[in-house]
């Protein structure tokens, strides 16, 4: 272990983590670039700046493990292996989208990857993840269920109900709180008193860890242990990671000029960019040259460009299908 309590990590793992973070970053940059074209007509909450959390946690999950998420889901979805094409096509409202266009950015799903769904009602998926863990345990599947949510979500009563049940039943569930200190434009201090989120989770009886969510090595190491304990010992876990979103709550732009954040806060966090930190690590400790980084970037860029081209050519769904799938059979329609 090094000073952060993090394990030495093999280079191939570092590269995998780097690729995954960079890919999320670049996908969102590409989304932001194209959003003003007014063809992706749905609210979008970009994850830029927070990539280390999704990647550090999901790296330990199999596609049979479950992830649930919230409005800010792109990173979780991609880190878990969700189809890029499926996500972007849904943002464009296309038939080939992961929800056939019914979801858009705020409702992602890729069951083949174990990404079980994200919805924009804050707290909406938290008990679902617990219920999924309950099913895993009851059905004796050796699986873990994970839910990502924000600091704002921690204020919702349903979170506490969910934690209580997870501990009561010793479920293989991992709560991941991404504390970016804001809910929309509202700072934490206007919503929660000065005390640690993680302390409440611990008082509920959860095993907890907290730390710098922009430190991928810390997240990755802690998540390894948390996922292991959840999976092997069925002990529910809670993580609180400090992080920061770089862009506005919704939309594609930096909104720092609105003045709702503390001066210098964004700049300070940008110096702790998880992608850049990993680049420094690779270049420093592992003597990567910039060509190596550049070639990864190119690969990803290629993938993204192709995907957008494909998606734009996909057919739109037929509006006459909008009434389908309210029920499995037709018996329910009024």
């Amino acid at each position: 272990m090094n000073e952060n309590g993090t394990q030495e990590i093999h280079l191939s793992t570092l590269e995998r983590l780097y690729r995954s973070m960079l890919r999320i970053r670049m996908v969102e940059e590409a989304l932001a670039e194209r959003y003003p074209e007014q063809e992706m007509r749905c609210p979008m909450h970009l994850y830029t700046g927070q990539e280390a959390i999704a990647v550090g946690v999901c790296d330990h999950l199999a596609s049979t493990d479950a992830v649930f998420s919230n409005h800010r889901a792109h990173g979780h979805y991609l880190a878990k292996g969700g189809s890029l094409q499926g996500m972007i096509a849904d943002m464009y409202g296309k038939e080939s989208g992961c929800c056939g266009g019914r979801g858009g950015s705020m409702h992602l799903i890729d069951k083949s990857a174990g990404f079980m769904g994200s919805v924009p009602i804050v707290g909406g998926t938290v008990p679902l993840a617990v219920g999924m863990a309950f099913a895993f345990k009851t059905l004796k599947k050796n699986r873990v269920s994970v839910v990502f949510f924000g600091d704002g979500c921690f204020e919702e009563g349903v979170l506490h109900e969910s934690m209580n049940y997870a501990v009561l039943k010793s479920l293989p569930v991992l709560f991941v709180c991404e504390n970016n200190a804001y809910s929309v434009f509202t700072g934490l201090e206007e919503r929660q008193p000065k005390r640690a989120i993680v302390d409440i989770a611990r008082a509920h009886g959860l095993e907890t860890v907290a730390g710098d969510g922009n430190d991928i090595l810390h997240v990755h190491t802690a998540a390894a242990e948390a996922v292991r304990r959840a999976r092997e010992e069925s002990i529910p876990q809670f993580m609180e990671w400090q992080t920061f979103r770089w862009l506005g709550h919704v939309g594609y732009q930096n909104d720092d000029h609105l003045g709702y954040r503390k001066p210098g806060e964004l700049a300070a966090w940008k110096t702790r960019c998880p992608v850049q930190r990993m680049e420094s690590l690779l270049q420093g400790n592992h003597q990567w040259c910039s060509e190596q980084l550049e070639s990864i970037r190119k690969e990803i860029d290629q993938e993204i460009e192709t995907t957008f081209i494909d998606v734009k050519q996909c057919p739109a769904p037929d509006p006459r299908t909008a009434g389908k799938h309210v029920y499995g059979s037709t018996t329910g329609s009024v």
Binding site: A66, F68, C99, G100, G101, R102, G103, H107, I109, K111, M116, G117, V119, I121, G124, T125, V126, P127, L128, A129, V130, G131, M132, A133, F134, A135, F136, T138, L139, S145, G157, V158, H160, E161, S162, N164, Y165, L168, K324, H325, V326, Y327, G328, S329, T331, G332, S333, V334
Partner: protein, 365 residues
């Protein structure tokens, strides 16, 4: 429907039997709710289940309605088939978010890539001072929401068959029981078998001998009132067809329209408030589809538009029963008739306390 010759059990026993037979067939079914394994056993409907199927499948739960609903949705997505129970429908208000935003929409919003095979039983309280927060009939709130099925069986055989169907169904079904139905006894088939969730049924149809005839469409416990009213009305020469609506979503209007075509008169009964209630919906649809068949405007008979007070002295008019129905029918078919000058009515309608389902009932409730 129940046939003669089958053994007679109560509505509550019928539900329990549906659980036993379903759980024996399908290991994925779990039953969860406050008090499910306790000595009261949800008014007997879950008695002995934990012993029989184990504590992993038959569970009590914390007081956390929204969370537990979400947990059941998650468990359903994970391959189980949960039945969640609320002892009062009033408590389900705490879980509207999970029911409406998640359960009702999961299949739709994810384009048929997942479904929520979840049954939520909700009991409507009444009598013995249940009062403002424990005697609401809130099914219309759910019947408004596409993606839900909302059933309200009135008879023991339907209770069994529709519970089986609800559990078999791959979509969320709200199974709404009126507490006063639990003690009702009737013939119920012994074998496993479902009753469809989307069909109203003509419960009774008296022969029309004159112009004096009426169609009564009734939900849940009002079917009992309708039967009592029909007994009276028939003795007064009025032919009555009673449609047990069975489901608040979907609403099956076919038997109503078929009957209205004959009678031209429609009375709609519901245990819930009128305004934006299922009675409003039945009236609206009957008019939309059967305007020319109606001789007069349909009539709704529902509780008055205020909360239910606790004092039994005050609830006298809060639950319109057979008497109100008879009056309304007289108004509809022959306004000169009044209930007071008909002796037969007095014999049928007792003046006993109105806050118990039957006379020998004693509180607490």
């Amino acid at each position: 429907m129940a046939e003669r010759g089958q053994r007679v059990i109560t509505y509550a026993e019928a539900i329990r039997e549906a659980f036993v037979q379903s759980m024996e067939r399908d290991e994925r079914i779990i039953i969860i709710g406050e008090g499910v394994p306790d000595p009261n056993a949800i008014f007997g409907t879950t008695r002995g289940l934990q012993k029989r199927f184990g504590a992993e499948r038959v569970l009590d739960m914390p007081l956390a309605e929204n969370g537990m609903t979400g947990i059941c949705i998650g468990a359903a997505l994970g391959g189980l088939r949960p039945v969640l129970i609320h002892q009062r429908i009033d408590f389900a208000l705490l879980s509207m978010d999970q029911i409406v935003n998640n359960a009702a929409k999961w299949r739709y919003m994810f384009n048929d890539q997942g479904s929520v095979p979840l049954v939520i039983r909700m009991l409507i309280g009444r009598g013995w001072g249940q009062g403002p927060q424990h005697a609401q009939s809130l099914h219309a709130l759910f019947a408004h929401i596409p993606g839900l099925k909302v059933v309200m069986p009135a008879t023991p055989s339907d209770a069994k068959g529709m519970m089986i169907a609800a559990i078999e169904d791959d979509d969320p079904v709200l199974f709404i029981e009126h507490r006063w139905l639990h003690g009702i006894r009737d013939h119920v088939p012994e074998q496993y078998g479902s009753v469809s969730l989307d069909r109203a049924v003509t419960l009774r149809q008296s022969k029309m001998v004159s112009e004096m005839c009426v169609t009564i469409a009734a939900f849940s416990h009002t079917v009992v009132d309708a039967v009592m009213a029909a007994d009276i009305l028939e003795q007064c020469g009025v032919a009555v067809t009673i449609i047990d609506m069975r489901s608040a979503r979907p609403i099956d209007l076919e038997p109503v329209l078929a009957s209205v075509k004959e009678t031209g008169h429609l009375v709609v009964l519901d245990t819930g408030w009128a305004s934006c209630g299922v009675s409003a919906e039945v009236v609206a649809r009957s008019v939309e589809r059967g305007f020319s068949m109606l001789k007069k405007a349909p009539v709704r008979i529902t509780p008055p538009d205020h909360p239910i007070p606790t004092s039994h002295y005050l609830t006298t008019d809060c639950y319109p029963g057979a008497k109100a129905i008879v009056s309304a029918v007289f108004d509809l078919i022959d306004p000169r008739k009044t209930i007071d000058n008909i002796n037969i009515v007095r014999d049928f309608l007792s003046d006993g306390p109105k806050d118990v389902p039957y006379k020998t009932f004693t509180g607490p409730f």
